[in-house]
Symmetry: C2
Subunit: 320 residues, 2 copies
């Protein structure tokens, strides 16, 4: 099958072996896959991953190895963490924190940027008919945005700042734009900020941000180590900073203001699929303004090159 | 009056001018004052404070400049933050986060290690008759321990680790020892750990701590920058790290595990006096095992020297 593979170099392989679903897994024919910033980090060496890349997808179940035969023929999206099934986390519904987890296209498991992918049937969610493939493929990144809603109680009087106008920052601002909070997005790229403005989100260039401690909640989706420091400059005492940026390197920092101002810092990662699919089905959320371009699988390398461009947002690869 | 003053050097001054209560303030005759680690930091230059040192005290109101005349003659303890009275924080009961606050013996206001001290009457709390001076003087540090209870919901199934066998770490472990959680204190000083063991707290030397991610809540009261890093090594995914250590310097750190493991980090500072006085009155909490020695005011410099000693816990200065 065709697959986008990273083995130190990124390449399109035309004869990658078809994966076989293990017990409890399904074989899924991929329709669309999305390129995430994590993928762009992986091809720079992050997580030391090799294999089929990609973890955002929508597809159709072709075969089930196990009891969930009712999934056959269904259009699905899939949670990316698969746990050991035996540890405390797995037993309490937190497989995304299992210490021995495999993560689709990121750690220990071939990913979704291929004609076929396997995943445990427990990870799959059927996509409602009314949700197009081009929307469903945003389920995974939208779930990462929804995770912030699981963690933080947003109050109507809250002043909320989303930092970072990349895909995740924009998605979080889209999601929060339907909340009655005082919302601001801040970033460095006017064209990206314009996508938020088109959704009636107040969007400021970083240069316009006043360094005053006025925000109740600051969400750092900058993807950079300096995001946390900037958040500390604008967060109110007793405020909440949500950290979405996975920056795998040390940096100089000072937690003194966290203690003195009693700031809460919350790490935030993957989120729940079910409410995202419900919100997409109800038309509560529309991620399509993020779509920059759809490439055919044969042009996957060009898709990655485009994805790295400064004004680029979501790039999809079409296997249909 | 006699006062313990820091002006670059620590000294006992015999003729320090008697403070005058401003409008809304009371003049309090100090009975006992405690030496806190913050005082030991201040005499090393922390917070650039000069003036009368000290912020833990119990005393008797001698004069009131304002409406709270009913406080006259009452035995009181006092909250250490006095706000501007006009900002959003002051108006919403959070004067301890007022940006223009003065902090008794720490920032902008002469402290309590003197025969007399002034404080806004709003900051004062009457000590119940059944609570001895030697217990009441622990109200402020106990409130800092109670602040953790305000912030964190401790569940019976939680494994809780308190890091640091200094005064604050011990007080927190004493407070938590009455909760049905699985509690461990870890430190470096066997004699201090023994004080906790005498209260049936499981207390381990740091060398015995296993580096496994098994704790739901870790409270860092080490007072050192490395405390946070150690906490990260033992906190469970989705766990809570409470930071009590005010370390006013940069250090190399990596927030990657905070994000990936969705850790919540909470800064924690001053706490509520009312529940502490109630708990002392009801005999729910007893801080006296922390008392190392009481010095006469004339021996204040010796008191500070003793307080810096490795096995020393709470040192009091007696003005009675």
């Amino acid at each position: 099958m065709k697959a986008v593979v990273f083995d130190g170099n990124l390449k399109l392989v035309n004869d990658y072996p078809l994966p076989q679903p293990a017990s409890g897994e399904a074989l899924i024919k991929v329709s669309l896959a999305g390129i995430c910033n994590t993928d762009l980090e992986i091809i720079k060496g992050y997580a030391s991953f090799t294999g089929v890349i990609g973890h955002e997808f929508v597809g159709t179940v072709e075969k089930v190895n196990g009891n969930a035969g009712n999934l056959k023929g269904k259009r699905v999206v899939g949670e990316i963490n698969s746990g050991c099934g035996r540890c405390e986390y797995c037993r309490t519904g937190l497989k995304e924190h299992c210490e021995n987890r495999k993560v689709l296209g990121i750690h220990g498991k071939d990913g979704a940027m291929a004609e076929y992918v396997t995943l445990p049937t427990d990870n799959l969610h059927v996509v409602p008919d009314a949700v197009a493939d081009e929307d469903a493929v945003f389920t995974e990144p939208l779930a990462a945005a929804f995770e912030v809603l699981r963690q933080v109680h947003f109050r109507p009087s809250d002043k909320v700042l989303v930092m970072g106008d990349g895909k995740l920052g924009l998605l979080i601002s889209f999601v929060l734009s339907s909340f009655p909070v005082d919302l601001t997005l801040v970033g460095k790229h006017e064209r990206k900020l314009d996508r938020a403005r088109a959704r009636n989100v107040r969007a400021l260039h970083l240069d316009q941000l006043i360094s005053e401690k006025i925000y109740d909640v600051v969400i750092d989706a900058t993807g950079s180590a300096s995001g946390f420091e900037s958040a500390l400059e604008v967060i109110k005492p007793r405020g909440i900073i949500v950290l979405k940026s996975t920056v795998a390197k040390n940096s100089e920092m000072n937690l003194f203001p966290v203690v003195v101002n009693e700031i809460t810092v919350m790490g935030s990662r993957c989120g729940p699929f079910v409410p995202v699919l419900r919100a997409l089905n109800e038309g509560l959320i529309d991620a399509k303004p993020l779509l920059t371009k759809v490439f055919r699988v044969d042009d996957a390398l060009e898709a990655f090159a485009t994805s790295s461009g400064e004004d680029s947002l979501k790039i999809l690869i079409d296997f249909r």
